[in-house]
Point group: none
Chain length 156, copies 2
Amino acid sequence: MALFLSTHQNKIDKKGRVSVPASFRAQLSEESFQGLVLFRSNVHSCLEGFSFSYMQEIGSRLDDFDLFSAEQDDLATSIFGTAVQLSMDGDGRIILPQDLIDFASLDEKAAFVGMGAKFQIWNPANFEQRRDVARQAVQSKGLTIPKGVPKGDRNE
Amino acid sequence: MALFLSTHQNKIDKKGRVSVPASFRAQLSEESFQGLVLFRSNVHSCLEGFSFSYMQEIGSRLDDFDLFSAEQDDLATSIFGTAVQLSMDGDGRIILPQDLIDFASLDEKAAFVGMGAKFQIWNPANFEQRRDVARQAVQSKGLTIPKGVPKGDRNE
DNA sequence: GCTTTTCCCATGATATCCCATATATATCCA
DNA sequence: TGGATATATATGGGATATCATGGGAAAAGC
C-alpha cells in the first residue's frame, strides 16, 4: 500500500504541468497504471489524490451495493463522476485541468501534502492556515491514533 | 473490469454522432466486443452505458431472482427490452438513436459521466443539478464507501 | 432513383514525448 | 577532509502524436 509522506512545493508551469514529488512517484511506481486520480475535496478547497489501484478498490466495494440503488447511484456520481484520471509524462509531471486549478485556487505553486494512503494538493498559502488549524485541533481535543487491530481481524 | 472515471462533455454533431471519451474507449477496448450498450435509466432522465460483458454480469445477477417472478420480469423488460448495442466508428464515435436522444433530453452536448463499472449520458445542464443532489445525499445520509467486510458480517 | 449509414481524411487544439539545463544531493578518490 | 565527479530532481521548451470535430465519398438499404 502506498504511503505518502511530507509536504513538497512544486511549480505549475505555463503549460499547466506540475512535477509530482519524487517520493510520491516512488509510491505510485508500484502501480500497474503510471498515473493517479484526483478529485475535489468535500471538506476543504483542495484536491485529493489517490493511486489508481485505490480507486479500483473503491470501485469493487461499490459493487457490493445493489446496482441502480439510490445509495450506489449517489456515491458513484459524486466520487467517480467528479474524479479525474491523470497520467504522468516521462519526467513525472501531470497536467492539472483548469477546473481543478480553479477549485483549489492554485496559481504558480502547488503544495503536495502526504496523508498516508492519499495526498492533498493545496495552494501553499491556504495550506499553512489549514495546518495550523489541524495542529490546534489535535492538541485541544487530545486526538490520538487508535491502537492497531490484529491483522486477521481487520476490515481491509 | 472496466473503470469509468470523470465527466466529459462532447458535442453531438448534425449527423447525430458523439465521440466516446478516449479514456472510456480505452476501458472498452479490453472487451471482446468493440462497442457498448445503452438503455434508459429507470430513475433519471439519462442513459445508462455498459460494456457488453457487464451486461452479461447483470444478466446473471437477474438470475438470482426467481425465474418468472414479477420482479425479474419487470427488471428484464426495462433493462434488456430497451437496450441498444452500438458500435463505434474508426474515430471512436457512436450514433445516438433519436428515441434515446429524446429520452435524455439531449441537444447539442452530451455529458459522459463515469460511474465506475458503468457510465451515464446526461444533458449537461441536468447533470449539474443531479451532481449537487447526489453530493447532498452523500453528506446528509453520511454515505461512505464500505470497508471490505466479508459478505455475511455486514450491518446493512 | 433517393436516403441513410459507414468509412475515410482534414484540421485545430491539446496533450505527450523527448531533450536540454539548472540545482541539489550523493559518491568517490586523492 | 575536501574537492571533483556522478546521480537524481525539478523545470523549460520544441517536436510529435492524439483527440474531438467537421465534411465528403463510398456503400448499403428502401
